[in-house]
Every structure is written in C-alpha cells, then in structure tokens.
Symmetry: C2
Subunit: 339 residues, 2 copies
C-alpha cells in the first residue's frame, strides 16, 4: 500500500481539514497516511472522529510549524524540525511516497526541492494546476509560480513534464500542449515565447502552438506552458473573478423581488459554480520534477480537497509519473547527443 | 465643440455599431463625430436612422479597410488609405481631437503612434483598460498589450500616465498605484518588478507596492501597472472566465426544475453580470502617450460601447490628459536633472 505523508499543520484550517481529509482518504482509497506535526494535537483531533487505531494512519511528530507569514528562505534555515521538513524527509528516506501540504507554498516548494531532491535531468521543478474547462477534461497550467524569469529551456521541460502529467493523471492519450501567449499566430508573443517555440516543436509532444489567456477555460489545450510569474497572475486573476461572481449571485439573491423564486436556481448555480471553479476538486497542484511526490494545496483547503490531494499523490506515484519524466528526458538527451 | 473621428469600418458589426453609436453620442453629448470609411456605405447606414443632416455628423471617405486578419505591419505598409489611417490623419492635421476604433488593435496602435505621433517625453505608448471592481470605481490596468518585454523605465512611465488618466477620467483624487506581482511583499516578483519598484517609489504618485492578480477586482488599487504581455494574458483570462460563468448560468436555467422560478433571478443576475464585467461600458481602452486621443474598442463592440468610447475620447481631450502627462514628465526630468 502506498503511504502519503500529510503536513497536518499547514493549512488555514489545520489540523482539522488535514485529519478529516486523511480519514476520508484511508476509508475510501487504497492508501495509508502518515500525519506529520505536533503529535498531541493531531491525536486529539483524530480522537474527535472516534476509533481510528485500526485504520492505516500513523503520526510522525514534528515540533515546529512554518506559518504563512514566514519567508521560505528563513523558514528553511531556522525551522529544521518543521512539519513540512519532516514530511519531506519521510519521502527521502523511503517511508512515504509523497507529501501533501496546504502550508506556505514557497516553503513547501523549497523544502521539497532541497530535501526530496530533483529527478535526474530536471533543471527546475514546476508547479502545475488543473483548470476546470467547459468540455470536461481539465487543462493543466504549468508553471504557476515555482519559477519566475524562466528560460526557454525551462519552459520546454515544463511542457514535457505537463505532457506526462496530463497522460498519467487525466488519462489524456495525446495531450495538446499550447504555449501561453497574446495571440494564436506564432509571431505574436514576447522574447521568451519566440525562443521557446522552436524548442517545443522539437519535443516528442503534440505541440499546438500559441494559445491565449481565455484558453485556460476553452479546453483548446490539455497542457498550457508559461513562466511562473505569468501563471501565478493568471491563477489569481481567476480566483479574484470567481469571488466577484459569487458576490454578484449573492447580491442578485438579496433583492426582495427575487428572494423567493430564486432560491432553487441559486442553489443550483452556486453548486455548479463551486464545482466548476474549485481547483481543489482536482486535488491540488503537483510540484513536477521533484523525487517522490509533492502536492501543494490551497491554504483554504477543506477536508475534501485534502482527500483529493492524497488521491492524486497516490495516483502520481502508482502511475510512475516520475519514472516516465526521467526516462523521457534521458531519451531526449540521447537523441540530442546522437543528432 | 470637440470632434472625434470614428473608424466606421473597424469592428465586427461595422458600420452598424459605429454609426448608431455616433448618432447616440451626438444626440446625448456635446460632441461632433466624423465617421471615416467608405462614404456610400456610411451614408446608407446613416439614412436607416432617419434625418441626420442637421446633427454634428460628417463623413470622411477612406477607400481601404484593414481587417482583423491583416498583420499590423503589412497593413501599415500597404493600406495607406485605410479608415484607421485617414482617421489618425484627421487628428494629426487638427480636424479631430481623437480617434475611436473597434478595428484591428495592433494596426490601430501602430497607426496612431506613427501618424499622430507621441507626446514629448513618452518613450512608448501603453494600452490601458478599466476593470470593474466590487467597490465602484474601476481599476485601470496598464499595459494590456502595446508593449511586450517592457523595461522598468517603461513601466514607470505607464504608472505615471495611468495616474493621470485615473485622475482625469475617473476623478480619483489620489490614485493608489500598484505593481502587478505574485505577492504583496516587495521581494516577491521577478527581475522586472524588482527593477521597477525603486523607480515607482521616486515618482510623485501614491505607489502602494505590489498587488496580485486578484486585485484587478478587489479595488485595492486604482491603477495597476504591468508588462503588456502579462496585462494581455490577464485580460483574456478574465474574458474566458466570464464566458464560463455565462455558460453556467444558462445551464442552471435550462434545468426543468428551475426554469420557471429562476427566470426573474436569472434576468437580474445576467444584467448585473453584464454590467459588472462588460469592459465596453467603461468606454474602450485608451492608448496612453500618443498625441491627440486614441480609444481602442473591442471588436465585438455594440453601439453603446462606441458611444461610451466617444464620450471618453471627448473627456480625455477636454480634461487635457495629454497636456498633464507632458507637463508631468517634463517636471520629472527637471527634478532628475537638478538632483
């Protein structure tokens, strides 16, 4: 059985969401969970849910907690016994296949990279997020914040890793990979997209050329590649606009004219909106390129989001995503060397 | 009376939206409109609306039309008698205060820059778009596509021009200017934001530091500055998500359970959504930094959007936005020289 280490102290609702998510995961999936953090607190939270001693759940004590306010660099230097660090060590030492954390994203990325290490051939890990689309299969955006000022070579690796991820987790047979730009035509873009296009054309992936911001939602591409600065802005623009929509729906409801008749519709629309725009439904954002697995969840993650992230971490491991990335990159280097 | 030259051949619904928008503008505002394009077609369209000969509307013939498919560079070289070019010449020669076009954005920007010329002291014009916010006053995002690979010095000028624009058009007394980045803290960003921050701190504007993608909608800043590549992605991500939201509302409506009771609410929600997310309501995107005025509208603009753009063009001119930009930049150079 695959074991996933869950940072129990990470999110805004820690350890409540983490503990409940872990319980849901071990009850519904073929997975074991190692909850990492302050043992006493975790144990008390587990006890709230009745008998858990027969479930595949263990606790690993970690005395320190990295907060959202901590800078990643400082946390790495000073908090050597943080729940994130201890969880990453469990992966490094072979006690867990991967980690799930809703904690400080910068600290999780830096810790995972340092402690778990990188897959052979990967120059930088990249954070991938799945966006809901109107046609069903989510679109993977990579990178959404691990690397700013990325080079063309880095984007090419992100594209390749996104391709492997889309195949392994979303079962897309031949993922369409697009380059995020400001127009479909190849000449529309900036210095980075112009340098990246020829590299993407050489990769053994189905590169479909430039895509635009709106294509995060159209389903035109299965994987969209961009620099981490741009991906992060795109992600947060989306989050901001979803908040506006929710607000508009609520306001429409509060008008006395429609309060009565609108209740049923609003319930539908809200549920639908939540389902369609809730990134947590897709199981968090994997940090592609590190050894083992690292799934980063939104700080606001609820138990369901944590459960989904544990599911994705287990699938990521059992579908051998890392092995496929390593083999693929080695193959690319071989063909480059023989060319 | 201020005269605005309107490219009558530009948008997806040209000349219908342009002609109707011009008629609405001259009937409700203290403005004259010069419709530029194929005279016969414009005249016929005007005649559809009854007697217009006593209104302050004129027609200037232009034999060529730049399509959305034309590359900006080629259109500039080959179509010297395009409606966009003739309209820009009217401004250059003092016959109109500014142009409004819903045509090919790249061609309009390039033509306006070349024919109208740039304000003294401006190194690059920048496209500004007003985003609706929950608190009322729109947030101006600049640049949304005129310049990719912008330098820190260019972003500083965009910030200053955005500051003047927000004051003049949205009557914000002391606009809060933010730098689009991936975290509020100053150290979070990329090479460009790190180089830009010290320049923005030196400007006589109310610089509030980094803002994030979600702040396009929170109203935290009145002006948000970014590179044109990023601004364009942000704009199109928003457009894509608005489409998703409309789709969800429609789907919720089509369920038989709620079809009856939901009609009233849906009408409200749709109207509200449209009003809150319809950038055209704000009167198009001004190209800040060119002599005269250049307002670029979405290709899908309806008559109301064109009318609003004509209104903004007239206000831009009567509020002396360009003079204020020129004086401000001269002042900056003077203080830099004496420092």
């Amino acid at each position: 059985m695959i074991t996933i280490a869950v940072d129990a102290m990470g999110g805004d609702h820690a350890p409540k969401s983490e503990v409940e998510g872990a319980l849901r995961a071990v009850r519904s999936l073929d997975v074991a969970v190692n909850l990492v953090g302050r043992e006493q607190i975790i144990r008390e939270e587990l006890d709230q849910h009745g008998k858990w001693q027969n479930l595949p759940i263990t606790i690993t004590h970690a005395s320190e907690v990295i907060t959202m306010e901590d800078s990643a660099a400082k946390a790495m230097r000073t908090k050597k016994d943080s729940s994130i660090r201890v969880a990453a060590r469990l992966v490094r030492d072979g006690h867990a296949a991967g980690i799930v954390s809703a904690g400080n994203t910068g600290a999780v990325m830096a810790t995972s990279k340092l402690v778990q290490g990188m897959i052979r051939g990967v120059s930088r890990p990249a954070l991938a997020t799945a966006f809901p689309t109107l046609i069903g299969t989510p679109t993977v955006l990579v990178d959404v914040g691990a690397n700013v000022d990325a080079t063309a070579e880095m984007l090419a690796q992100f594209a390749f890793m996104g391709h492997i991820y889309s195949r392994a987790i979303f079962s897309v047979h031949r993922p369409r990979v697009g380059l995020l730009s400001i127009g479909e035509e190849e000449h529309k873009g900036n210095a980075l997209t112009h340098a990246t296009t020829p590299l993407l054309k050489q990769l053994p992936i189905h590169f479909i050329g430039n895509v635009e911001g709106r294509d995060l939602y159209t389903g035109l591409a299965d994987v969209i590649v961009c620099d981490g600065f741009i991906g992060n802005v795109a992600l947060k623009v989306s989050e901001g606009l979803v908040e506006v929509f929710k607000h508009i729906l609520k306001e429409s409801l509060s008008s006395s004219f429609t309060r009565q008749v609108g209740a049923a519709l609003a319930k539908n629309a809200f549920t639908d909106l939540k389902k369609r725009t809730d990134y947590s439904e897709f199981g968090g954002a994997p940090l592609l390129g590190v050894k083992g697995v690292c799934i980063i969840c939104h700080g606001r993650s609820n138990a369901n989001a944590i459960k989904n992230a544990i599911r994705v971490a287990a699938e990521y491991s059992s579908n051998r995503v890392n092995e496929k990335i390593e083999e693929g990159l080695a193959g690319l280097n071989d063909s480059a060397a023989s060319a």
